[in-house]
Symmetry: C2
Subunit: 169 residues, 2 copies
Amino acid sequence: MADGPAPQGGQSLLFLTDEQLRKGIEAMYFAYRGFTADPDRILQDKDMGRAHHRAIHFIHRSPGTTVSNLMAILGVTKQSLNRVLRALIETGLVEARVGRKDRRERHLHLTAEGAALERELSDAQRERMRAAYRTAGPVAVAGFRQVLEAMMDDDIRRQYEALTERRTT
Amino acid sequence: MADGPAPQGGQSLLFLTDEQLRKGIEAMYFAYRGFTADPDRILQDKDMGRAHHRAIHFIHRSPGTTVSNLMAILGVTKQSLNRVLRALIETGLVEARVGRKDRRERHLHLTAEGAALERELSDAQRERMRAAYRTAGPVAVAGFRQVLEAMMDDDIRRQYEALTERRTT
DNA sequence: CTTGGAATGTCAACATCGCTGACGTATTGT
DNA sequence: ACAATACGTCAGCGATGTTGACATTCCAAG
């Protein structure tokens, strides 16, 4: 992909100037604020925040995942995660089922109510992403994802790829 | 993995499926963690955090900017910003000069020490960005920026563009 | 069967970084 | 003289992260 206008004989490395890099850094910062704005707005009326959104997202994405898995994906301590999960369980959005094979594990699932909130949140976020994608077009989207993936830490990228591989479609 | 519903018209809209959008959302989340990882690591030994980094970045970028300007760019309250600025001034990284024309204003500048820290932080962040850019290539980088810009809130995008306009040769 | 360790939960204390509200001060402009 | 602006500050709160310490539950190995 994107081999098209390859830099011929070291010709165009202009995209690697400090100025270009700084623009990218600032774009990343400002875009991330937009990226989180909609779910944040929805959640602030419900005594929840970004941490709850992230937990809900990944429980939805990998139903039955354990607390340890979630810790690894979110990169937070069990204490932080536990505080969030406790709130989600107490408000009936998440269910923690004791493992059948290993009864120490808690397998996390969204309740119907939790799934409804997940949909509300991801609809909002997806709508913004969809608008951005549509504006930028498919070629830009491919580049967007390439750069993002190259920006991840190696171990995080492995988890990201594992997540997308596990899908059936 | 490669199955396809019928393409629409000339251009496939497959890049707008919910699945594609979710990949983009997760990529954005994981990439942002990488994006902030290096400066966070540097700053945690110095009793500072991301907020200090952002302030230093934009003071470096727009020397002599006022507190009000910085509030608008960072999107935080003056109380939050003041806490950060006070720490930066007390540790001798930032200097606040009383305005000549309007003496109510404080014009913010990095000291030599502040500029050194700014360089250390932005070197780390820029190095990651440079590696990602180099891996992905110039076409991908153009797409990356297009999608990010389309993802910003309108008023934020205006500020982002104003920032880059003032600098372009 | 006992015991070690893994997985989880919990409590306590703390730091960062947002927020609101209220108030004071200096300065500017009308 | 007076209203508005720019800034600083105190007080308090909330969400989210951190360590550290300890309890519980359970699987598995000795």
